[in-house]
Amino acid sequence: MRIVLAEDHALLRDGMTRLLQAHGFTVIAAVDNGTDLLQALTERRPDVAVVDVRLPPSFTDEGLQAALAARRQIPGLPVLVLSQYVEQLYARELLADGAGGIGYLLKDRVSSTDEFLDAVRRVAAGGTAMDPAVISRLLARNAKDKPLARLTQREHDVLALMAEGRSNAAIAQRLVIGEGAVGKHIANIFAKLDLPPSDSDNRRVRAVLTYLNR
């Protein structure tokens, strides 16, 4: 799998390059600023990009802007955005085009190697990887929503994991329940929130995120 990596911190950039290469990914470009990133994304068209939000020259949200610009040119270009902070505003902007292939994680998630690599693969496959911190804040904001209040605690847990973009199998493993049970919970959630049922994992996640982001 071909990866473009954008990170201005040399130590982190090298560490992540080593980590990705050790797990069978090919880092075709490792850049340290927004201008080079946009060029690498549009010209080399990686299978997935791993991008730090804050990059030179402006040290603001350069990385995010480059990722959004690249996706306007190449719809659905898979991008996993990493940041020291997660902001709902940025999550919303990343999800806005509805094209999938989007990840938005806190930088320290990289230290949980398996989870991080799983997120990279999920995003590359057109899926979603939202940080649990984004989802918990989304749910907190929707605390007064009546349909959401009708969910059982277990359904609530399943919803949170699903909104992060995890597959049924991953949810089942995490909650130590069977995959069949997960499927049943998800069907219940969709009925209670009055969302159209869907077989595709990705479309399902997007429906849930759209609901929470109203």
Partner: protein
Amino acid sequence: MSSPFAAWARRGWVAAGRGLALFGGSLLAVLLAVTLALAVVSVAWVVLVPPTVMAVRRLANRARRLADAWAGVHIPAPYLPQALNGGPKRFWRRWTWIVRDPATWRDLLWLLVDPIIGAFLAGLPAAVIAYGLFGLAQPIVWQPIVDAGGSNWYGMIHVDSQAAAWLAAVLGAGVVLLGLAIGPASLLLHAQFTRSLLAPTPAALAQRVRHLTETRADAVDAQAAELRRIERDLHDGAQAGLVAVGMTLSAAEQLLADDPQAVRTLLGEAREASTKALNELRDLVRGIHPPVLADRGLGDAVRALALDSQLTVQVSVDVPGRLPPEVESAAYFAVSEVLVNAAKHSGAEQVWLDLRHHDVALRIRVTDNGRGGAEIGHGTGLHGIQRRLATFDGTLALTSPPGGPTTVTMEVPCALSSPKTTLSSETE
């Protein structure tokens, strides 16, 4: 025509035109004086006088601005800042604020004198030039005037023949030159006259100094308290967490040979503790300088606040460009506090947040559909915001009748910088 002469003539001509504009201002002053007099004697004087006085201030401020722009005479505005104008007695506070400001009374004096002295100084060059042009026109107009039975004098010349008309034209040319010559001087005199009445008096300056001293002390106190809080948070949070990580790691080190299973558990604990320390650092940074504010400026930072609020917040922003960083920060935390207040106390479900930069000030209006009855008591969040905004000569006003709605209006005078992204040092 030589070029220096052309430039001189143009200066005189422009000055005369500006004098006419100032003359127009004097006419407005007459109009306002009459309006004010009528407002004072009317039954509704309690309601009508304050807005009229504010209109006089706007006119006076225009005169100050023009004196600076056209004659280079800088006249600072002498008004007292409108502090502490919220609460149920808001209306009377506004009255006292207006009446107790000596600048108000000096404005009124200016309003009476300007239509006489100001108008004379302002209109003189244009009038002289007009009279000169009338002289230049004599060779053409003397005949029709005499035919119509008029007695046609120009200066001391009785114009009743073509020869006298030509003489009048020469005199007229001189008068035009005189009008052009006195233009700039007359503008300067007018500006100095304006300054004598509209500049701050020493007493007003002393009052201003008192206000600044007070708000500076507040600002320093607030900053010191903030630093103490940060120190405490670091000490109890991230610092303690990192010590724990270190201790767990050294325990793991000692167990490495004998008990790999225990090491695995300890390493897991260490990672959890480091995650927790990172979270605490993140929260701390968010409280010092929120990342979205640094990245995008006040508009998007306030949108991000709205997204995080438990209430439904509708945001409209009209701020073309970036504000000074200290104002952005103060405004951000003020909005944050007001939203938290609304969520905690008002019982509201919906909030409307309006943020705009107009003329020379940032104005933020936050309205909720809650139960109302809010007050700016001592030690409340709103009081704290008021004191912090006062450092920037900013104000906070509250209207909150029982039953709602509650509206908090904050204003901070500040200039807008260009809409470019500003460079900042890396903090990530």
